[in-house]
Symmetry: C2
Subunit: 480 residues, 2 copies
């Protein structure tokens, strides 16, 4: 007897053979039709029971959320929308789900808001929406690995606990083992981190880039894919305190090669999702359409979810210098009419989400890569251009979501990097190893970072980043 | 003109076409033969320069560690051990490596101990040994993903920062944002975690299992692959404070299916390494042979590295109950002759590494899966057997390395789990969500954890776990 998953059975022909399936009851209509789901697909398998052949005691336990095992013949389905169904000959209830208890949870068969679902994050994965999102997330993660491995990159695990807080990419979480109330103090009355587990102050990483550079300068092509952390008190639909980041880093790549890589990579993973998550994306597309119906016309997207994904594949990412972008923005209607919250007055301004979205959604109407940003608003490690005022930075901007990738060519020249670190108060002693890369066989190299949850958001159409990671961590929230 | 990596060029025919390669100088013999490496393979490409055609000023800079770009024809190699070499027509030094500076680092071409290499972890990746280890690590990681994805598992990112410290798997690191010296206190004089970032005390995860269970009970088959942390002060060659763990979890799997999964999975990833890391494993095998020459005969392994890997593939993992193992150990020679450090006196004893290795290496001479351990020495979530004294736990034991996998069937019965939690002082309120899984459609399910670094150690033959992760974190050490 075959023990197959529902995704396999739904694809197979009606063999009239006996099969066994286990899963959870999604619905039980007319004491006859069980819609069974086992998580392998968003679709349910119809299991038809002839109630006269089963004890009432058993059938009573076939309720929403219960785990059951059915055995029966796989036959042509009489119903619509599926090829096959099971004529149940044996039915075992493995685990009940008391309807009174179910009623108090999001498992109850009615519409629950995403906010309510978030509060029961351990159960929300049993809903269609979260099943679809998390299966897609898994496939996207695999596509990331497959892309890089196929292209000769080495996966590198950069450290999570870090003794260097030099990068200044954002506020950090402290990792410690000291007594929380009465930490040991040194003779100056400061906390004595020499007594801590690592004998120094340590934090959670905000980026694996600097360590990835050390590996790129030996292995050539590397990428990281791991959790990163920001202790920023921003309670928005775009920020998490804990999120997963992908950071490729490549020796001998200049900024143009870096842009090519970013574009090629993003197109690969989106193609992979379209090809491997068809059912889930169809469901999510319809979900989004429903959701948008509740919004004013102006806020609705003019493309359906999969159209938006294909749009990315079919367009070249438009490459625009920061200087050019500023000119466009300065003379743009929303700037002239003071519709922007932050008006663009002069070169050097930091671009806000509203500006990025204007460029992508209104002006160019395609994905945009902005590059050559003013040095003053970017990080110390970015390659200074010959003009002395811009750096080889790039941001990939997407419709609806804004920045999805940020990267740069790295400053490979020892003297210039050292000077920059001094100017920007980066501790050169602490980052001696980063400087060493410029001392021993330095070379042009580049890389970028992509926040994985932003990619999942874009691909699934979920509006809130808390709904694309299993257990979101945000200010005041570390449940489960 | 082709811009290929060295691994590609070494596989190609001598085309007599012009190619361009960039990499780092490993050696420069007789002012004529440059051994060039770009990290894509352990092998170097021979680049032949006719010194009469090049400025002395340029050739002087072609020193160990320098980054160079060469252009030339790809021709038959005159030397041994490779098909092709490059007849260099253009040579550009991209980044020098001052020999005086190099001399002070592990880049200097002489033998350095693994301990010394560890102190310069940002440079050790440029050595043959670490290049081989880290390329193999990357391939193994991909094999992990490929195996699970091919078999219908969903990759799940379990949270890293966790508000629950209930599992009791080991000492944890605290994650905090509070002032280290003067934390806010509540009215009872205790640290007021309500003021902390997450408004509660949070720690770094020791395992993603409990959260993975919530996903398995909806998606069916899931796996995690992420960093986990133990704040244990164990300075051994087998322990890290930060390490990567793989944790599959499957609904409807009993312990037997769990054992099948573990065995099939391990064989898959080792096969993948043998097929995809041939050059690196050959190098590591020879490295190990050299290393073992320095050891007394008795401590040397009787199998070469790849023999040991194939041995795993060719043997069925022997399944032995704990009770059976105790009988074997009790009457074993080392127990009778008091050679074990911990003598086995009676049923219930916790097995030590020496016992595990005796069973694997001396008694059964093959990988062993021990199962049905005494409940008292195992975790609260393990499925109690009908005998009331053992649980459905399993450990996979490997030669040389001991435990590589630990897993169990999980207790799926609400009442029994609750009672166990009470007995073992596990806070049921904090783990209400874990109990919920047994309330709504509970079912038999199982999973295991595999420490990724142990797998990399086994596959690469590296004796110290600090040498199989880029930047090891251990007591007193969080450099880089």
């Amino acid at each position: 007897m075959q023990n197959k998953t529902i995704v396999q059975l739904l694809k197979s022909e009606p063999t009239h053979h006996k099969v066994m399936v286990r899963g959870w009851v999604r619905s039980f209509r007319s004491n006859r039709f069980i819609a069974l789901n086992d998580g392998s697909t968003i679709n349910t398998l119809q299991c038809v029971v002839d109630f006269e052949n089963f004890e009432d005691e058993v059938l009573k336990k076939v309720t929403v959320g219960a785990a059951i095992e059915v055995v029966g013949l796989l036959v042509e389905s009489q119903g619509q929308g599926q090829n096959v169904e099971i004529q149940v000959s044996n039915l075992t209830v493995l685990g009940e789900a008391n309807p009174e208890d179910v009623k108090r949870t999001i498992l109850s068969p009615k519409r629950h808001s995403l906010e309510t679902l978030r509060e029961q994050a351990h159960l929300r994965i049993r809903t269609n929406t979260f099943g679809a999102v998390m299966r897609t997330r898994s496939k996207l993660a695999f596509a990331v690995h497959e892309y890089f491995q196929k292209n000769g990159f080495n996966y590198m695990h950069s450290p999570i606990i870090t003794g260097s807080d030099a990068e200044g990419a954002g506020e950090m979480f402290r990792v410690t083992n000291l007594d929380a109330k009465n930490p040991p103090l040194d003779k100056n009355g400061n906390v004595d981190y020499k007594e801590d587990f690592f004998e120094k102050e340590t934090n959670l990483t905000v980026s694996g880039q600097l360590e990835a550079e050390t590996y790129a300068m030996a292995l050539g092509k590397v990428y990281t894919f791991g959790p990163t952390f920001r202790a920023e008190n921003s309670n928005t639909s775009r920020h998490l305190a804990e999120f997963w980041m992908i950071e490729p880093e490549v020796a001998f790549y200049d900024l143009a090669a870096n842009m090519d890589l970013a574009e090629d990579f993003i197109k690969y993973v989106i193609t992979y999702a379209l090809e491997n998550c068809a059912d889930d994306l169809e469901f999510l597309e319809n979900r989004l359409l429903e959701e948008e119906k509740t919004k004013p016309q102006a806020d609705r997207s003019d493309m359906k979810l999969r159209e938006k994904l294909r749009f990315i594949l079919e367009n070249n990412f438009k490459r625009v210098s920061y200087t050019e972008a500023i000119d466009i923005l300065k003379s743009s209607k929303p700037n002239q009419k003071k519709k922007f919250k932050y008006l663009i007055k002069e070169w050097g301004a930091d671009l806000q989400s509203e500006h990025e979205r204007f460029l992508v959604e209104k002006h160019f109407k395609c994905p945009v890569i902005l590059f050559d940003y003013p040095a003053d608003i970017k990080s110390f490690y970015m390659r200074l251009n010959d003009d002395g005022k811009t750096v080889r930075a790039m941001d990939v901007l997407f419709p609806g979501i804004g920045e999805i990738v940020g990267g740069s060519q790295r400053e490979e020249r020892y003297d210039i990097l050292l000077e920059k670190m001094k100017t920007m108060n980066i501790d050169e002693k602490e980052l001696y190893w980063y400087l060493d890369l410029r001392k021993f066989g330095t070379a042009v190299h580049s890389g970028f970072g992509l926040g994985f949850e932003r990619l999942v958001q874009f691909t699934t159409g979920m509006g809130n980043i808390r709904d694309v990671i299993p257990y979101p961590r945000t200010p005041g929230n570390a449940e489960f």
